[in-house]
Symmetry: C2
Subunit: 215 residues, 2 copies
């Protein structure tokens, strides 16, 4: 019985995700589901990206259990933003996104970021209608993460390794992170960045521009 | 319907957690459910604690989605350890713990740590039969975490703020973390530590010894 219900919920989610995807396609907006554990730097990646995205019309949906901190940070960059509070739920689902879309000028956007709840596990299981998933890992989280949390690495098209500025002070094996991540997902595109210094962000934004143009 | 099923699962979990608690009480073992987001340093806290716990008989249950890295790290300290692989589940539940207990010499332990899956959300919702919950937050995760992930801070008896050695290189407001955490949970005991240097660990272990004696 338990399994049956879980399947039904996932099926309903898939159906709504498919509807969202059609809306995104019709509007010509490229959609990225941005995921990470708590505090890896998703919002910082968005802030840097927004400041480097001249000519791209970018919107953001912020997902958090509680609070509006992230939406307030994004608003400063002039991007249209909607904050979803999940009220306890550990991930965004397709229906939450569907309900947020009426508050976004979808047809005036080239790119929409959906910043998921900070959680390295559950968000990877729920499609929301995105074109691709991108994940952020703070190198402060340690080099054992890919093999301990394999699904998110498998589901993502790109991995942003953030907090490179702290590398000199950490005992972290960057090569192991990259090797293990690629063993789980050989086509994963990896970016090494510091949102604090801006290092590596140029390459990420260039990749993003190419992707967005491909819509 | 959805709500009804979820309630039933939580009810079943509560019942098994209660059974576990009776087993722990009968064996005279004090049990800590150790939680955090990914890479905050739960296993490092355990390693330091084990190396400073002369005279205390400590056992560990390791919870991970996949892999045995953490159990291997703990085994080096000579502590009895059982690794649970949840196979995708984002938290430990009472039944997983119940099934692991047959592999532990419960009556020969003073203290049992249950290291939960790295996840700042879901583990806080599932009791496993513990005496108390303790959480770890890496200060690299940022000062916005208490208000964004309130439940774990509310459910925990102690908060270990780890990675203090990195403070000079971070823009993190430690006072805000402590203030917000205490606003959610005024009786929360807060420890500021570095598992890398050992700073602050003496106070944590002393507190732990007192707690364990009180069983």
């Amino acid at each position: 019985m338990k399994v049956k219900v879980a399947t039904r919920i996932l099926e309903a989610n898939e159906r709504i995700a498919f509807e969202n995807r059609k809306l995104f396609n019709d509007a010509g907006v490229y959609v990225i589901n941005l995921m990470s554990g708590p505090g890896a730097g998703k919002t910082s990646v968005l802030e840097r990206t927004l400041s480097m995205s001249a000519g791209l019309r970018v919107g953001v949906i912020e997902g958090d259990i509680a609070g509006t901190d992230d939406a307030e940070r994004i608003e400063k960059y002039g991007a249209p933003v909607v904050q979803i509070n999940t009220g306890g739920a550990c991930h965004l689902d397709a229906n939450m996104i569907y309900e947020a879309l009426s508050d976004l000028p979808l047809h005036d956007l080239d790119l929409l970021f959906i910043e998921n709840v900070g959680n390295l596990v559950c968000p990877a299981e729920f499609r929301v209608g995105e074109d691709i998933k991108v994940m952020v890992l703070g190198i402060t989280e340690g080099h054992d993460k890919p093999l301990k949390y394999p699904l998110m690495f498998q589901e993502s098209s790109a991995l942003i390794l953030n907090k490179l500025d702290l590398a000199p002070y950490l005992d972290v094996d960057m090569e192991k992170i990259k090797r293990d991540a690629l063993s789980l997902n050989p086509v994963l595109k990896i970016f090494e960045v510091s949102c604090k210094t801006g290092q590596g962000m140029q390459e990420w934004v260039a990749w993003l521009r190419n992707r967005t143009r491909a819509v």
